[in-house]
């Protein structure tokens, strides 16, 4: 077993910057999954983190219109949780304008997109959005399940 040591008080911080290019969201996803593995998240937890970070990156790729075309990802490793921040320096948006998706509508000829935030919120324990004309940060927290971890051995 390979594990991270546990200095409980201060978060270890890892930063990753990727260009907005097709498939590079997978680099973010695999970096996240390696970190989650070292933190001893279980397999489902790792897959959920992977999926959530992909959605956050794709939103930045697709919607931010960032002129520099970069996504900044910060991983905060804490004893009991992993916090992921996905930031772009794009145009931002108004979260209250976001219309929730509906499967009933979607299968009846309506809008099929709009699932990103819903998935992030369901797969992670907490999702917070900060957005403005400077860009957007999506901050997601995934708690470790009790007993599953090996961080504090």
């Amino acid at each position: 077993m390979i594990r991270l040591g546990g200095s409980a008080l201060s978060a270890k911080i890892i930063q990753l910057v990727i260009p907005m290019e097709p498939n590079l969201e997978l680099v973010a996803a695999e970096t996240a999954s390696t970190i989650a593995e070292l933190m001893c998240f279980d397999e489902d937890g790792i897959d959920e983190i992977r999926m959530a970070i992909i959605e956050a990156c794709l939103n930045a790729f697709e919607h931010s219109h960032s002129p520099e075309r970069k996504v900044y990802i910060t991983f905060h490793i804490l004893p009991d949780r992993l916090i992921l921040e996905v930031t772009d320096h794009g145009k931002g948006f108004n979260p209250s304008d976001v219309r929730p998706p509906s499967i009933d509508e979607a299968v009846r000829g309506g809008r099929k997109r709009g699932w990103g935030f819903k998935l992030m919120r369901s797969l992670m324990d907490e999702v917070m959005i900060e957005t403005g004309s400077w860009g957007t940060t999506v901050r997601m927290t995934k708690m470790k399940r009790r007993g599953g971890g090996c961080y504090d051995r």
Binding site: N23, P101, I103, K112, W115, L119, S122, L123
Partner: protein
């Protein structure tokens, strides 16, 4: 490098099976949709999507699956997903896809379900 398909299609007796690749993103979704439309034109109405090889999906890829569900609804066809990883199964449930498409553990179970209700 060419000649590699992200999607494999197989024809059964009255149904077609589509196999998705490692990552179901927009590109893979569009390829899937193309094969699906071809089979639809050939007259197939019962589909199994075997996701055994798929480790990662994104919501753009899934939105293409919803398109396929819509088309089958219009035509009175059926779509069954099988071999979903836990996170993909969870994702489909969160989105409510499972209200409009079935999920089975294996391809055999999916085929059996099609035969039963044929």
């Amino acid at each position: 490098m060419t000649g590699k398909f992200a999607v494999r299609a197989r024809k059964g007796d009255g149904y077609a099976v589509l196999e998705t690749d490692l990552y179901l993103n927009q590109t893979a979704g569009e390829e899937l949709s193309k094969r699906f439309n071809e089979l639809l034109e050939e007259g197939y109405l019962n589909f199994i999507i075997n996701m055994e090889r798929t480790k990662v999906v994104n919501s753009v890829g899934i939105s293409i699956l919803i398109e396929m569900i819509e088309k089958l609804r219009e035509r009175g066809g059926r779509l069954i997903f099988c071999n979903l990883s836990n996170v993909i199964d969870k994702t489909f449930r969160i989105m409510g896809l499972t209200q409009y498409a079935e999920v089975k553990g294996s391809e055999e179970e999916a085929v059996a379900s099609l035969k039963e209700q044929a």
